[in-house]
Structures are given as structure tokens and as C-alpha cells.
């Protein structure tokens, strides 16, 4: 994935401001930023759902403005919030989304349903928000995408933080199979634990990779931030 000066304006405000991004194959790449930083808008532009105001990009070698349909065949996307049709049952929802794809790994679908403990005949409207997120991940992974994009993969409440581990484990397994994952999150610790590389987004801009945000302070590290087992906020890389 690569973008050059990718910009999205809305009512005079730059939601995404001249973003240059390079996401290499086979990595878990993280974008960290507060709510309203422009992460979701950036992800939607990479999928071709939102057209850029200026600039451009490639996703899996395809133009994000011209080849959006082909990109969406090959990319799995988990949006935030994960709103699904509450009036359907789980198996109806899976059948519905399955109809959009040429291929679908039904054995993976069944395995993830068991893993996430989501009832096959259950009403989607009766699932918890986290179960809906897990179901969205299932719907994104079952077509066998080459790239997985997840917006806000982690829950912020302490009650549901345990569920983050299962979600992270599934994403990690997907990455181990040689695929690429792009995560956008407000949860810095969970993102740093899972991602190979994390960039910070603020007010629509991707910050210098040497910048580490610690609350409202910007600290400059001596090298770009990479996942190295060191704690967040230390001098040096994460």
C-alpha cells in the first residue's frame, strides 16, 4: 500500500492532510491517533469508498480511485463501529455477505464462530458490541483477503480488554500466514504490542515516525518507532 499527498477535504477542513504512506507486504502496520485524527477517513480512502480531494495511492498495486471494486474484492475491512443488520440471524448475515464474493472459506467461518462463541442461529441484534466486532472480523477474513484493514480493533473498557487478546490472536495468525494487516486505533499499548510498526496520526497528518506522543507532549526519539519489546514512552523506539 502506498499513498502520495493523499488529501480529503470536507467543508473547508482537511480531514486527511497530504498523507504519504508506505505499508510493506507481510507486516502488521499500525496507525495510532486520537478520535477525530483522520484515521477512519484515511482507511476509507485506501479502500476507494471515499474519493480523495487530491493526491492518490495504490493498494495491492491497484489505483484507489480507479480500481476500487477490485481492491474491495481482495481487501477485508472491519469498520468502526461494526454495525450489522440486527433483523437477520447470524447464518443469514453470513449468507448475505458471502453472496458478494467469488470465494468464501466456510471452514474458517465455522472455526471463527466456534472460537468467538457466536451462535449460528442467533439474532444479530442480540449480540454484544464486541461479538458484532468479532463477527465483522469473521466476515472480513472468510473471503480470504490479501490485506486486512481493521478500524479500532481494541475495546477501551477494562471489562472487555480480555476480549482484545482473542481478537489480537486471530489477527496475529492471519499475519503469520504471510498477509498484511493495517490497524488504526486509539489504544496505543495494544497497538504497539501487535504491530510491527506504528505511525502517529494527528489532525489529518501522519507525524514524523521519530515522534512519540506521550499525552499532549511530543517527544523525538533517536530512531523511528518499531516494535522492539521496549516500553512505550522510553527514549528510543517502542
Amino acid at each position: 500500500m502506498e499513498t502520495w499527498s493523499l488529501t480529503r477535504e470536507f467543508k473547508g477542513r482537511r480531514l486527511v492532510d497530504a498523507v504519504d504512506l508506505k505499508v510493506p507486504y507481510g507486516q502488521v502496520f499500525g496507525i495510532w491517533g486520537a478520535a477525530g485524527a483522520g484515521k477512519s477517513t484515511l482507511l476509507k480512502m485506501l479502500l476507494g469508498i471515499l474519493p480523495p480531494s487530491s493526491g492518490g495511492g495504490l493498494c495491492l498495486g491497484l489505483d484507489i480511485t480507479g480500481d476500487s471494486l477490485t481492491i474491495r474484492e481482495k481487501v477485508g475491512f472491519v469498520p468502526h463501529p461494526s454495525s450489522l443488520y440486527g433483523f437477520m440471524r447470524v447464518y443469514q448475515l453470513i449468507d448475505f455477505y458471502r453472496s458478494f464474493y467469488r470465494q468464501w472459506d466456510l471452514s474458517l467461518t465455522r472455526r471463527l464462530l466456534r472460537l468467538f462463541d457466536i451462535p449460528w442461529k442467533g439474532k444479530v441484534g442480540k449480540l454484544t458490541p464486541h461479538q458484532k466486532k468479532q463477527l465483522s472480523l469473521l466476515l472480513a477474513l472468510s473471503p480470504g483477503p490479501e490485506l486486512l484493514i481493521v478500524d479500532e480493533p481494541f475495546e477501551t473498557s477494562s471489562k472487555e480488554r480480555g476480549d482484545n487478546l482473542l481478537f489480537s490472536a486471530v489477527i496475529h495468525e492471519y499475519k503469520t500466514a504471510g498477509h498484511t494487516v493495517l490497524l488504526a486505533s486509539r489504544c496505543r499499548e495494544e497497538l504497539a504490542a501487535l504491530a510491527d510498526r506504528v505511525l502517529t496520526m494527528e489532525e489529518g497528518k501522519l507525524l514524523d515516525p521519530r515522534v512519540i506522543m506521550k499525552g499532549n507532549l511530543r517527544l523525538i526519539s533517536s530512531s523511528p518507532r518499531r516494535r522492539s519489546g521496549e516500553k512505550d514512552g522510553s527514549s528510543g523506539s517502542i
Binding site: 476509507k44 479502500l47 469508498i49 471494486l69 477490485t70 474491495r72 474484492e73 475491512f77 469498520p79 463501529p81 461494526s82 454495525s83 450489522l84 443488520y85 433483523f87 437477520m88 449468507d95 448475505f96 455477505y97 453472496s99 458478494f100 464474493y101 465483522s136
Partner: protein, 240 residues
């Protein structure tokens, strides 16, 4: 162009609205033959259903009355939340992230709306015909169903226009309110003799086709042209 699973989803999602539409139309279709020839005192008024010939009575109360206004209401009901409802619920982004073009999504919703309106109008007209036959009144089926088809075509044009409001607004309430004002603006000229021929409602009442037995080629042509323009406008706006 119409995605089968999306089309079925639309029908399933709108089943309660269809039921409401059928209940309103069905109640009218059954009640009108029963009320004919009777008078009902209501407070200080008297509802008099006895003065007209039956077919004129049905045209006045059904084609130009119940079916006309309920089909307009149904067009608003089905159309206002079609796009804006999904946007407000957050399900639109999930749909757009799948390999589905915006044209396919829009066309599937249009097709579902057309069928829902047809089920309401045709189903209730059939019920009216049967209820009338049961009461011993024979209606000319050609005039009756031709008028129903014209009302349906008018309701479809209103639905396509309401769909455009649904694209423009992110809230189904705002889309519905704006569309309702639009329908009101369409309707007003019909109530004044000097301007009635400028109103869509005038043509939806199907006077020449019901009372004079004319073949509805002009309304069909207008429907195809206007419908095509409204549809394409909606797709272009949704694509942006």
C-alpha cells in the same frame, strides 16, 4: 445491475412497512364496498356514501382517495430511510466495503421499492375488486387496473424523488421531512382548478383512463422518461 441478495435483503428489511401499507390499503379496499349506499352520522356531520353510482364512488374514494394518498405515504415510507437509514445505522459503510458498486446498491433499492409499491397497489386493488364482487357490484377490471397502474407509476416517480432526498441527507428523519415538503409542493396545484393540470396528483387520479377508457400511452411515456431521469440523477448523486 440488481444484486439478488441485496434485493431480497431490502424486501426483508421493509416487511413491517409493507405490512403497514397493506393494512391501510386493505382496510380501505374492504371498507369502501361495505360503506356504499349507507350514511354514517359522525358528531355533527353525516358521511353520505349513497349519492353516486358505484364506479364513480370507487374512483372518487379509492383511486383519487385512499389508494392515491396511501401510495404517496408508502413511497415516502419506503424511500426516506433507504439510503439515509443505512447511513445513520452505520450499515452503509459495511456494505460499501464489499465488492459492490454504488450503482448496484442504488439499483437494488430502487427495484425493491418498485416491487413493494406494486404489491401494495396491485394487491389492494385486487382485494377491492373481490370485495366489490362479493357485495354484488361489478367494476370494469380494465379501467380499475389501468388506473391502479397509473397510480403505481406516479408513486414510483415520487419514490425515486424521495430516494434522492435519502441520498442527500444523513438522517432518515430529515430526509423524510424534506421529502414530505416536496410531496406537499407537488400536491398543492392539484387543489386549484387553474393549476391542477400541473400537478402529478392530477394525473395519478387517472381520470381519462378510468372514466373515458383511454389507453395510457402518454403517462407511460412520461413515466419512462421522468423515471429514467430521476433514477440516473440519484445514481450520480450517490456515486459522488
Amino acid at each position: 445491475m440488481v444484486h439478488q441478495a441485496l434485493f431480497k435483503k431490502e424486501l426483508q428489511q421493509n416487511r413491517i412497512k409493507l405490512l403497514l401499507s397493506l393494512l391501510l390499503l386493505g382496510a380501505g379496499a374492504v371498507a369502501l364496498p361495505l360503506l356504499f349506499g349507507r350514511t354514517w352520522p359522525v358528531f355533527s356531520w353525516t358521511l353520505d356514501f349513497s349519492r353516486e353510482a358505484y364506479d364513480l364512488y370507487i374512483w372518487n374514494r379509492w383511486t383519487a382517495g385512499v389508494m392515491l394518498y396511501v401510495s404517496l405515504f408508502s413511497a415516502l415510507l419506503f424511500g426516506a430511510g433507504a439510503i439515509s437509514g443505512e447511513r445513520a445505522a452505520g450499515t452503509e459503510i459495511v456494505l460499501l466495503s464489499k465488492p459492490l458498486s454504488r450503482r448496484e446498491i442504488y439499483t437494488s433499492k430502487v427495484a425493491a421499492g418498485l416491487l413493494l409499491l406494486l404489491l401494495g397497489v396491485l394487491g389492494s386493488t385486487l382485494l377491492l375488486y373481490l370485495a366489490s364482487w362479493y357485495r354484488g357490484y361489478l367494476l370494469d377490471p380494465k379501467s380499475l387496473f389501468t388506473a391502479a397502474a397509473i397510480t403505481w407509476m406516479g408513486a414510483v416517480l415520487v419514490y425515486l424523488a424521495v430516494l434522492i432526498f435519502s441520498v442527500l441527507f444523513s438522517s432518515p428523519v430529515k430526509a423524510g421531512a424534506a421529502a414530505a415538503l416536496f410531496i406537499l409542493a407537488l400536491s398543492l396545484p392539484a387543489y386549484f382548478e387553474a393549476t391542477e393540470s400541473y400537478s402529478l396528483l392530477y394525473y395519478m387520479k387517472a381520470v381519462p383512463y378510468w372514466q373515458e377508457g383511454q389507453t395510457p400511452l402518454v403517462p407511460l411515456g412520461f413515466f419512462l422518461v421522468a423515471g429514467g431521469l430521476l433514477y440516473e440523477t440519484g445514481v450520480i448523486l450517490y456515486d459522488r
